[in-house]
Amino acid sequence: MSAAIVAERLTRTFGAHRGVDDVSFTVREGEIFGFLGPNGAGKSTTIRLLLGLMRPDSGSITSLGFDPIGDDVALHRQVGYLPGELAWFANLSGGVILERFARARGLTDSTYRDELVARFEAELDRPVGQLSKGNRQKLGIVAAFMHRPRLLVLDEPTSGLDPLLQDSFARLMHESADAGATIFLSSHELDEVQRVVGRLAIIREGRIVVTDTIEGLRRRAPRRITLQFDRPTDPSAFATLDGVAVEHADDHEIALSVTGAMAPVLQCAAHHDVVDLTAPPTDLDSLFLSYYRDDDDGD
C-alpha cells in the first residue's frame, strides 16, 4: 500500500507557543488513521500543515503525493476538510453554502450530497448563524464528504453530535474508507477513535509519543494485577522485577502495574502465600491517559 500522507520531522512553533516539534508519521492510502491527544497538543497545527494552511518551520510533508504549499490547488481538489472549530457564514443558509461549495469543486451530480443531507438530517433553509452546534456540524460533514474526496481530514468530527448520529458518522467513515478514501481522524477522545481506526498516533505537547494499532497498544498497555495474601507481605520483592511497578501496598494486598512479561511476577507470587489474584481486562483508557500525563515516558 502506498502512503497518503508522509510527515518527516515537522516542526512549527508560534512564538512562545509550542505548535508541533519533530513530528513524523505515515498514513497509508485507504486507512483510517487516528490522531489523538489532549487539547492544545498540536493536533490542529498538524492538520493545518498537512493541508497547506500553514508552512512548517522545518521538516517536510506530502499529502496525496503533493506538496501542500506548492500544489495546494491540486491537493485541495481531492481533500475534504472538517475543521475542529467549525464556523460558517452566519447570514447564509446551509443550502446556499453547500451549493457554492459544490460548484467550487466542479460537482455537477448532487445525488450523493442529497443522500448525505437526508442521512444526517441537515438543516438547509435557516441561516447558519441560527443553528445549533450539532446542526452546523452536520453541514460540515456534508461539505467534507459530498465530493467523495480521496483524503478526508476530520478534526474532532463528532463534537456536538448525539450518539445516534455519532454511529451514523462512524458508518460513513467506514464506507468511505471501503471505497478507497484515506481518513485522518483527529480527536481528544479515545472513544471517538477506538472503534473506527486501524492505527493511531498519540501526540502530546507537540511531540508524537506513540504510533501503533489499537491491538498493539492493547498489548503494550500495562496490566493491573492485585494479589491478596493471608499475612503481611513485603512488596519489595515485586518492585525489583523488570517492568513491574507497585501501585499500592498494604498488609494483605499488593497492586501491581505490569508492562513486561507476566511469568516472573507469577513465579515471585508463588513464593508467597497468595490467597487471591485479580487481573481485570486491559484498560485502554488508562494507557491512553498515561500517555497524556507522564512527563518522562514515551520518547
Partner: protein, 267 residues
Amino acid sequence: MATETAAAQVTRLDLRERRRSLIFYPLGLAVYALIIVALYPTFKDDSGLASLSEDNSTLMALFGASGSLTSPVGWVNANLYTNFVPLIILLVTIGYGASALAGQNENGILGLIATLPVSRAQLVVAKIAAMGTLAVPVSAATFVCVLVGRSFELPIGIGALIGVTVAIVLLGLVFGVLSLAVGAATGSRGSALGITAALATACYLISSLAPAITWVHQIRFVSPFWWATGAGQLGTGVGLGDFAALVGTILVLIAVAIAAARRMDIR
C-alpha cells in the same frame, strides 16, 4: 477552468453574505445625494455662503471644500465628492478588506474557503472582485443622483463626472486592498482596520488641507485623495496621471496582498 469557477464562488459567497450592504449603502447615499442636489437652488444665490467660502479657505478646507461653495462644482464637491462619498466608499472597502482574510480567519471561516481548490493568489483576486462589486454601486448611485441634479440647475460636466465616479471607486480600492494586505500580513482584523483607517485619515487631511497650508500643499501628491477628487477633478476632469497613480498603487498593493496571503497562517 474549475479553479476559475472556484474563485468566483468565493466572491459570490462573500457578496451574498453582505447583500444588505450591497443594497443599503448605495440606497442611503442616493437619498443623501438627492437631498444635496435638490437643495442647490436654495443656496446657489446665497451671497453670505459664497463670501464665507471665498474669504476663509482654511475653514472650508477643514470641511474638505475648496473654491466657491455656491458654484455647481463647488457645491457637489463640498457636499459629496471631497468628503461624504469617499467616506462611505472607504467604510465599505476598508471594512470588507479587513474582514475578507483576517476577519474570516479570526472567526474560522477561512480554513474552509482556503481548502477549496483555489490558490492564495486566486483567493486574493476573488476578494478584490467582491470589494469592487461592493464599491461600484455606491459610486454609481451618486453618479445617477448628480445627473439628476441637472434638473436642479446643477450642470456638472458629464466627462468629469464619469471620471470622478471611476476615480472614487479606485480610491476605495486603494485603501480596501491596503486593508486586505495589512490583514493578511498581521492576521488581525483590528490591525487592518486601525492601520488603514489611520493612513486614510492622514491622506484625507493632506488632500483637504493642501489648498490652505503651504507645507501640506507641497506634499499633496502623496495622497490618493488628491489623485481622485482633491485637485478639483470634478471641474477639470480626472487626468491620465491621476488614473495611472490610482491604478498603479492598487496593482502594487495587490502584489503585496498576494505575497502576504501566501505567508498567512490560516486556522
